[in-house]
């Protein structure tokens, strides 16, 4: 009787050692791997969701969407003022511009030649870059007359930047007007190279960047910059005379 008990106990110990522990180990390994790689996969999963989802996804809990596209024939309220050269110029009336807050989805960025079509956010935090491309909050929005510094992930929304060439057009649609830019230059520079952009520029210029090399897994110290100049679009009235 006592011999049976010992043998039963021995079998149960073997069961724990060779079945339960490997299962726990396997589950923990998968959990750890998931935690390690979810930051890399989440942008891809969110991008794939755009193609495979039947229903329009509700992002309202993640960010505020203030983007109401302006149709081609629609007119935006403008005001006429004299510019620094004394010439009369039309500006988008400041009262009609809902200036985006940090993290707001407020436009769309399209480069047809590069297959880039992304939501445009103000702010380049994780939520913005997971769902589109984002303007650095220390730069300005389109139409403001300053530098527009836009970031996007190289494995999702800005993967198409690898096809960027001088002369291609970039369209930015916002609720207060549509803007067209023309690519003037591309360059690979260090992420710490502050000469790659000028945030105090007093003229409108668009700079888009993503990690370089493209399609490389892991952290990279280089960035691929695409520079563009304003071709058309009404500037926002900033106030004053």
């Amino acid at each position: 009787m006592s011999d049976k008990k010992v043998r039963h106990g021995h079998r149960s110990k073997n069961g724990k050692g060779f079945i339960i522990l490997p299962i726990i180990f396997c589950l923990v390994t998968y959990l750890v791997l998931y935690l390690a790689f979810v930051p890399s996969f989440s942008p891809i999963i969110s991008a794939m969701g755009m193609f495979f989802s039947d229903n329009e996804k509700d992002y309202s809990t993640e960010y505020d969407n203030i983007f109401v596209p302006v149709s081609e024939n629609a007119t935006v309220p403008t005001v006429t003022k004299k510019d620094s050269d004394g010439k009369e110029k039309s500006y988008v009336k400041k009262d009609s511009v809902q200036y985006p807050g940090y993290g707001n989805l407020f436009g769309e960025l399209i480069i047809s030649d590069c297959n880039v079509d992304a939501n445009l956010f103000f702010g380049d935090g994780d939520v913005a870059l997971r769902n589109g491309v984002g303007i650095y909050a220390g730069s300005f929005v389109p139409g403001y007359g300053g530098t527009i510094l836009v970031a996007g992930h190289n494995n999702t929304y800005f993967n198409g930047l690898k096809n960027a060439q001088v002369g291609q057009r970039v369209e930015i649609k916002t609720s207060y007007g549509n803007y067209v830019y023309e690519i003037t230059d591309t360059a690979v520079k260090s992420a710490n190279d502050s000469s790659a952009y000028d945030l105090s520029a007093d003229y409108e210029n668009l700079i888009m960047y993503t990690c370089y090399p493209f399609d490389e897994l892991g952290l990279t110290s280089k960035r691929f910059f695409v520079y563009a100049k304003l071709v058309s679009g009404t500037q926002i009235d900033k106030g004053g005379n």
């Binding site: 050692g17 522990l21 009262d95 807050g101 300053g146």
Partner: protein
């Protein structure tokens, strides 16, 4: 005729209120604060200024509000106190300030943003200063620093756009966790075998 007049007035009122007006644009009060933010301070013989990317963030935020003259003058008064404090601190930059001096500067900051109903917090681990608006939303977030007049600040504007920034940290923690789990499992199996 009265009814017609009343309907006309009602229609005009509806039309007038239906137009949505926003707070875009920089008014004189906001411009005065921006000008003060651009003022240089002399620290250890060097003229120091707030980097343009931080002033731009303030300008962007001011485009979403309508600051009054009273609020503007209160903020400018706090800014002047802060400038004077920095000039007499003996430090060359914000990073060189002592802990007590940083606390004083933070108190000035809280007083300044408090005028607009905003709050400010400082994360000592990431050395990041975050300002929240009255609704608790982030209005500004950056590592506070000053740059020499005419010098461009190092590129903190460029983000990691390949994989998430915390990937290497997570990977390291994951590797350690894996080794610990493997070691623990090995020890348990070995102990049980020995007992058997």
């Amino acid at each position: 005729m009265k009814k017609l007049s009343a309907m006309l007035v009602a229609l005009i009122l509806v039309a007038a209120t239906a137009f949505t007006a926003f707070a875009a644009g920089i008014n004189d009060s906001e411009q005065a604060v921006l000008d003060e933010l651009k003022t240089s301070v002399k620290m250890n013989g060097s003229e120091m200024v707030i980097p343009s990317e931080f002033v731009n963030q303030a300008e962007n935020y001011f485009n979403t509000i309508d600051m009054t003259a009273d609020e503007s003058s209160k903020i400018i008064a706090v800014l002047k106190k802060g400038e004077s404090f920095l000039e007499n601190s003996g430090a060359s930059n914000i990073a060189d300030l002592t802990f007590a001096q940083k606390q004083t500067l933070l108190a000035y900051g809280k007083e300044g943003v408090g005028v607009l109903g905003m709050t400010m917090s400082y994360d000592t681990s990431t050395k990041t200063l975050t300002i929240y608006d009255a609704n608790g939303k982030v209005a500004f977030s950056a590592v506070p620093t000053l740059s020499k007049v005419g010098q461009v600040k190092d590129g903190s504007a460029i983000k990691t756009t390949g994989v998430a920034a915390d990937f290497s940290g997570v990977a390291a923690v994951s590797a350690v966790a894996l080794i610990m789990v493997a070691g623990g499992a090995f020890y348990l199996v070995k102990t049980k075998k020995e007992r058997a």
